[in-house]
Amino acid sequence: MSAAPTATSGDGPVPPPRTSVPHGDEAPAIDGTAAAPPAVDRPATGAEGDIAWPAGVPVAEPADPIVADVEPGRVRWDPAERRARASQSFWTAVVGVPAIFSVLRLGVEAGGELQTTLLLVANVGPVNLLAGFLTTAARLLSTGLVAVFALGAVLAVSADRLPPGTRRRPLFARWADITPAWVVLASFLLALITWPLLYLPLLLPAFVAAFQLRPARLHERVVPRVLLMGALLAGYGWLMLPTMRDAMRQGDEWLVLALIVVPPLLALFVAGPLPGMVIRPLASVTEVAVLATLIWAAVPVITTPVLPLTVTTVGPESGPTEDVRGHVVTTDDVNMVILQERGGVRYVPVGLVRAQVLCPSEEELPRHQLRIHDFHVEDSLLEGMGRRVRPVHRIDAACRTPA
């Protein structure tokens, strides 16, 4: 029945049969009576069997591809599909970036030597590698996320002031829009525990911006609002005053003072909205700046060693000993394989190993001599708490000797 009209329309492309078109029980009615008037309107098509044919689809134009005019814009901007794609790329990035970084790090750690890299690949487990990567990169990761979400939220709230004619919202604003609140919160929590205490005040304006917490949100009336803000500032002052006094006494710690005093004040105004003319340049500049910062900060992450630094004392039972400074790759029944700090791999027979100590690296030396209630300003909350659990860290004599 329905095949008959198709066969008659021999001069045109045949639209593919669609399963989604009308229910089976309606089909006879279409063929019989109801389909008649459209068939009159479009005599040449002979498509009387498809009443639900999309309005814009050209039926009798052979040159055109069939789906060409099905409003391409609407398909591209389908929010569900976009979200699916965004989530796909998100997870690809979550798995891929650490993996790529870890492999890059192995290459750097091996001193650029192919065979050494292969030795490391063979002996460093993927879990160790990933865990090692996360411990060193958590700070960088949270910094990037916090910057994007804080800037994105401020740009998003200002976006309606964009000059007329601007169609696209800034990139960070769109990212901030599609990110669930818990991801934003998790990024801030990660920053809270991994950032050095000295930089934590900067998290305050960032948090206020990301969650658009204007002072008005504290309380609807002015007097309690001012009192609340006063109380918050007083608490902050109690926390920071001894450190500020120390910083003033040391004289040359102006940046530290600024980092402690200024951010809480900025938090009062930072939530936006921004004037229209600023948005576009700010968006472009910050996009480039965040990207540049991430690349700049990624270099130390790549060059941070994967394996812990040790000094191994090597020598026969009674005789001269030698200190080998480097990273232990693996130990088996016969050899201890040490990647030396100055490069090169050393296979030390297990029987010759007299002693081994763990050493700190010079990157861990503090830059400031300041503490916030006995927490060193360059420790993160996690590190500070760790130091409370194991307070004294002795540096072994062997670590002082040159490589």
Partner: protein, 313 residues
């Protein structure tokens, strides 16, 4: 209406400024996190010293001053030796294989540092202005006073500096010591020998009648011959600050030794078991009349070390 819009414009300008300032601060923080420490680090100082890269550290010690520096059964023991071991270990030289004790007589302490036969001298070396022209000192690590030790048979006859001036008594001391200069100042005629140990030997053989030196050194000989000698408390009035001798051309090494002595001092002050206290308790402690504490080292440089972030309390 108008005031509302101007207020909103003001707020948006404040927002712009706040965002810009936050970004500037963040950038400054980023740069700060990558800069080198302002203060020199222990490792940097290590690289400046003449001992950097040396496989062994040579330390000059006395071998015949009981309790301070003594060679007993082939082993160097004593308070000075323990302090030397602590300083050496802090500098990265731990264990007998990396440490060489060189026997240095009292008068040879300065020449051996000048001649480069030893890297450090820890041998009851009093810090004086005259000596500071020739060698550097880190410390003090001990404060002692000058005393006189007499054989028991003379303990009632020699009681004052006046008695020492009596030509009937032969007073002995070691050459090149601060004691020699101090006795000269009091017009006491002395017999100068190489080491305090020679004086003690001489007294036991009847050649001398009294020996003068630092309380800590004399306490050592008293510990060796408790029934034969007695220390007489005399008001010489000067305190001896014992320091670690360092070649004058190596200020970095001096700074490091002072820094590590300070580390021990801080530990002891905070009530922890410090290396100094352990050394003292094992050697001098039981033999001195009055309890002593580690003196605060002088001219300690500020250095950055790995354990700086450890909690203070």
């Amino acid at each position: 209406m108008n005031s509302g819009s101007s207020q909103s414009r003001l707020r948006s300008i404040a927002s712009t400024l706040a965002v810009a300032l936050t970004l500037v601060l963040a950038a400054a923080a980023g740069c700060d996190s990558r800069k080198e420490p302002d203060l020199p680090s222990v490792q940097e100082k290590m690289r400046e010293t003449h001992i950097y890269g040396q496989s062994k550290l040579r330390i000059g010690v006395a071998t015949n001053e009981p309790l301070m520096g003594e060679l007993r059964n082939g082993q160097h023991v004593g308070f000075d030796v323990e302090i030397a071991r602590y300083v050496a270990a802090s500098l990265g030289y731990e264990g007998e294989q990396r440490l060489e004790f060189v026997s240095v007589a009292t008068e040879d302490r300065i020449p051996s540092l000048q001649g480069g036969t030893v890297d450090l001298v820890v041998s009851s070396f009093s810090m004086t202005e005259d000596r500071k022209q020739l060698v550097s000192f880190a410390g003090p690590y001990f404060v002692t006073t000058q005393e006189v030790m007499v054989p028991v048979r003379l303990k009632d006859k020699i009681r004052t500096i006046e008695d020492l001036r009596d030509p009937a008594y032969k007073v002995c001391t070691s050459g090149g010591s601060t004691t020699e200069a101090e006795l000269e100042k009091h017009q006491v005629k002395t017999f100068v020998v190489k080491d305090v140990g020679d004086c003690v030997d001489g007294i036991r053989k009847g050649r001398y009648d009294a020996v003068s030196s630092d309380e800590s050194i004399l306490a050592g000989f008293l510990a060796s011959f408790p029934k034969e000698f007695e220390i007489v408390d005399m008001p010489f009035g000067t305190s001896e600050l014992l320091g670690v001798g360092v070649p004058i051309g190596d200020p970095a090494l001096r700074d490091l030794v002072a820094f590590f002595l300070q580390k021990s001092y801080v530990q002891g002050r905070d009530g922890d078991a410090s290396p100094w206290q352990t050394a003292y308790n094992r050697t001098l402690g039981p033999w001195l009349k009055a309890e002593k504490r580690q003196p605060q080292p002088l001219e300690v440089p500020k250095l950055v070390d790995f354990d700086d972030k450890a909690p203070a309390k």
